[in-house]
Symmetry: C2
Subunit: 359 residues, 2 copies
């Protein structure tokens, strides 16, 4: 029986990945030099496909890291001298904030309980904070920050840099890159790719900030500083030998998604999320964790298990080959998380829902 990994990352690979892997072997993608023309063309292609897919304006650079976790570190090293501001509503946004602490920065936090969204009125960024960190889609709780709230924060705090952690959101949200300065994600979630690659997108304001810290004699890192990444990506190269295969596969899957059309992917995602939340609402076994529907993630769907424990529910789905995620951390026994990523067809979600509705 074919298994479907509806876990929120690593997740089911995009259905075209096996063919692209075969093609990569035929083309010797794993052996080519990362300083040669073949790599440069491949890297350029991937950047163009990602730019198209996410509608990234030309004034933003797209570069590669080892993971999204790495970007938490790099953006604080490069864009924060003293003080960062964090919206915290789950384990990942909290860890992002802790990276600021570990790097010796002052961090100010607006924290809400697990499963709740932010009250936009309560976002009060100190004037000396340099970077506003927003986890647009909390993979641990399935809470999202509505895009209009990001626009409101931008309007109210135009001086600060704004960075969006879009790890488990991409490619679904229709981001407006005018509303922030940086965005990053990892490829093993919505893109359906093998883990081991982070994608970091940033504009000239981030570069200027990094350069200004450097001019002050502060260390902003070594090979993965913003200036070093920019210098290399202008030649469609990377500072180190990168995950060449990962960059290749990202370009190919982004191309597949562009061919299908992001509008269609969004429509399907919205539909699958809708029927699943409806199922949670109607079910006696589940209830949506996130009460306010405008804070409900469309890509990571989280529910409380009202009776019994999560693992027994998960086991039942496993019988029909559907692997659903446990709750995160302390909630592993009481919650489930379902990845609603582009590789899953509507049919998979009908199966998922019907299985319990029939009982």
């Amino acid at each position: 029986m074919k298994k479907f990994y509806l876990t929120p990352g690593p997740s089911e690979i995009y259905f075209t990945v096996p063919d692209h892997l075969k093609e990569a072997l035929n083309k010797n993608v794993m052996s080519i030099s990362h300083r040669g023309k073949t790599f440069q063309e491949m890297c350029k292609f991937t950047i163009e496909q990602v730019r198209t897919l996410l509608n990234v304006p030309q004034n933003f650079y797209i570069v590669f890291t080892g993971s999204a976790t790495e970007v938490w570190e790099r953006i604080i090293e490069n864009c924060v001298e003293k003080h960062s501001y964090h919206l915290v509503n789950g384990s990942f946004s909290k860890r992002f904030k802790e990276f600021g602490d570990m790097l010796g920065k002052k961090t100010t936090t607006y924290e809400v309980p697990f499963g709740e969204g932010f009250d936009i009125e309560k976002v009060q960024v100190p004037t000396d904070a340099e970077l506003i960190c927003i986890t647009q889609n909390e993979t641990s709780s399935g809470v999202c920050v509505p895009l209009e709230d990001i626009a409101t924060i931008r309007k109210r705090f135009p001086e600060q840099l704004i960075v969006i952690d879009a790890v488990s959101a991409v490619p679904y949200p229709e981001f407006d890159f005018n509303q922030f300065d940086s965005l990053f994600f990892s490829v093993q979630k919505g893109m359906g790719l093998p883990a081991g690659l982070g994608v970091w997108i940033f504009n000239e304001r981030c570069i200027a900030k990094a350069e200004s810290l450097k001019k002050k004699g502060l260390s902003i890192g070594t090979y993965h500083t913003i200036p070093s990444l920019v210098k290399n990506i202008q030649k469609f190269e990377t500072p180190e030998t990168p995950n060449v295969l990962g960059i290749y596969l990202l370009g190919k899957v982004a191309e597949d998604m562009n061919r299908k059309g992001i509008a269609e992917i969004r429509k399907e995602t919205y539909f699958k999320a809708g029927i699943t939340y409806q199922f949670f609402e109607d079910s006696e076994l589940f209830e949506p964790l996130v009460k306010n529907s405008k804070h409900r993630s469309q890509t990571v769907l989280v529910a409380n298990v009202k009776s019994g424990d999560a693992s027994s529910v998960i086991k039942r789905w496993e019988e029909i080959g559907l692997l659903v995620g446990k709750g995160y951390g302390d909630f592993k026994d009481s919650q489930i998380r379902i990845a609603n990523f582009p590789t899953f067809s509507k049919e998979i979600f009908y199966q998922l829902i019907d299985f319990f509705e029939k009982k």
Copy 2:
């Protein structure tokens, strides 16, 4: 015509990689959770296979990073408060030293001209230097540091931590882990794996040093600090979502090499290097860059092209499917570099040599 990437990294993949990739697809390696039992068992297996292959004692930890370049940064962040000492004889050892500068450390260097080895008598490590950085195999120049010289340095400077950059050397040298505290490599060279994974090996002394810096209130980083890596690897996990596929393939290829036997791999490597250097010596077209045979790398074989430019020579080999590397950086037109990694059979090297000898 099948092409063979005899370039010193990325290089030809180990001949079993395509089969392991297929198996990885069948086993859903790219979709499993990095917090689950399947991953932990896989991670444990990889560590055991690497430990066996390189004869790593049990008191050394084996952990994973995004690249060997990353380890340059991490070991300085974690093991150097003020001062590091560097043996520099090529582009990579020089860049390692520059990482120290960029991180605001004092660096002391013993530098020799490109293509030369070190005079062990001239290694004078200041008493306040905390870390001795040795690039055992300079991928840019094909110069190696003899293992007995490492032992001598250890004997003369027992207080300092010693780290070995073994990027393009592994698995060939018969390292004695009692002679140093840390060693690292990347997988796209001798191991013949897709790039995007670094392997970092270190002992308790490195952990103690990192802990002592942390206690002093110094920042040693965030997710990829030694304490964070150790805490996770004790559960056979990683701090971030890692390159799961890379870890899987490393375990499989290390197992293949263990099955063949490292002694056999060493013997073949030594033989292929021997006939190639002899060819360089005898040829009117080439001469070995490294004059002192005890400083000649057995895994990256570098020669000066005596007449004409390197690219025309390289093009001729390309006609028979053998892709040889250019010289590094400024030497790209005047030198060639041949990777002598385990995946290449003796027959490939006979072809390589015969092609020019017949002319």
